[in-house]
């Protein structure tokens, strides 16, 4: 599998059709990552396009150093999102959150409450340090193992487990600060 991909990457350095195949393999993952980082489909599309154009411009210089190709793509997307956040920092960002807030019929109260909880949780996730966001997106959306994430993020497996633990604590602290969860737990730590 890795060899097939390596061969595809080598071909994509000189063959447009092969680059198209690489795009097919990764576009959903990159879009999903960017969407969860930005919270709206419009910017997710822009940043996904930016990521792949940048990948195309630099694919000739890509060399396999034992890290998956996806790591290289995620790094480009990660930097694109960081620049986007910098540009947006002075503006109030209103996330559409999966389009769930618009154009939907009135939902039962418990469903509305559940959606609101999820929206607040997603906002809290977006306030996490970018590396922590990357970690939980890779884990819960891409379903990657700790070993795979470690390789992708250039850390050890132990460091990834520890980062995940700290991420949950940071998330909980953030929610508690905003009165969204009982902060007894934080006192118990």
């Amino acid at each position: 599998m890795a060899d097939v991909e390596e061969e595809l990457i080598e071909r994509a350095k000189r063959d447009a059709a092969a680059f198209g195949e690489l795009y097919d393999r990764y576009v959903d993952r990159i879009y999903s990552y960017v969407f969860h980082r930005t919270g709206n489909p419009h910017d997710a599309e822009d940043l996904t396009a930016h990521t792949f154009y940048k990948a195309l411009a630099n694919i000739g210089a890509y060399t396999n150093r034992g890290v998956p190709f996806s790591a290289w793509l995620y790094r480009i997307a990660h930097n694109a999102v960081a620049n986007w956040h910098r540009d947006q920092s002075r503006r109030q960002i209103v996330a559409l959150d999966d389009g769930m807030q618009t154009g939907h019929k009135a939902a039962p109260d418990h469903v509305t409450a559940q959606r609101e909880e999820q929206r607040l949780l997603k906002e809290a996730i977006r306030r996490l340090h970018p590396d922590r966001q990357l970690l939980i997106i890779l884990k819960f959306i891409d379903g990657m193992s700790n070993a795979e994430i470690a390789k992708l993020m250039g850390r050890t497996e132990g460091a990834i487990k520890s980062l995940y633990h700290r991420t949950l604590l940071a998330l909980r602290e953030d929610l508690a600060r905003r009165g969204l969860v009982d902060d007894d737990q934080n006192r118990h730590r």
Binding site: Y23, E45, Q118, K161, Q185
Partner: protein
């Protein structure tokens, strides 16, 4: 609860969340004394997993971007054909040398690292010779008196 153990439990729980579902209760039964510490974190992890569902791009966007990229790639490759970098070239030479040695001496003692060093040594020697020649030339260049 021991910090390291807690980290391991959270990591294992997250892996199961993705693979098989929420096994929080099993962990809480295994570590009843630590329920107070564990339960909120396991619940939060499950909530994060529920909130973060994969999203796919609009098919029209996906298709259009693909077409644009393939067109851009064709233009890029036509304007500036790909040439391997120094590292890839070096790897190519090592692979060639390996192949040649396998032909000449199939059971030879040379390993890939020693071959790499041999090729690297040759390249460095060559650079040294070129540097020496260039330096000699610049030292013996006739100087024009000024002033």
């Amino acid at each position: 609860m021991d910090e390291h153990l807690l980290t391991e439990i959270l990591a294992a729980h997250a892996d199961r969340l993705v693979d098989t579902g929420d096994l929080a209760e099993s962990y809480l039964v295994m570590f009843p004394k630590d329920r107070e510490t564990l339960a909120p974190l396991l619940k939060l992890a499950a909530d994060v997993n529920t909130a973060l569902q994969p999203v796919t791009p609009d098919p029209a966007f996906r298709k259009e971007l693909r077409q644009q990229l393939v067109t851009a790639a064709r233009r890029q490759f036509a304007l500036a054909p790909y040439t391997p970098g120094p590292r890839e070239q070096a790897e190519h030479w090592v692979a060639l040398a390996e192949e040649r040695i396998r032909e000449v001496a199939p059971d030879g003692p040379l390993s890939r690292p020693s071959l790499t060093f041999a090729v690297l040594g040759s390249v460095l020697s060559l650079i040294g010779v070129i540097a020496f020649v260039l330096r000699s030339r610049s030292l013996h260049k006739p100087r024009v008196a000024t002033g």
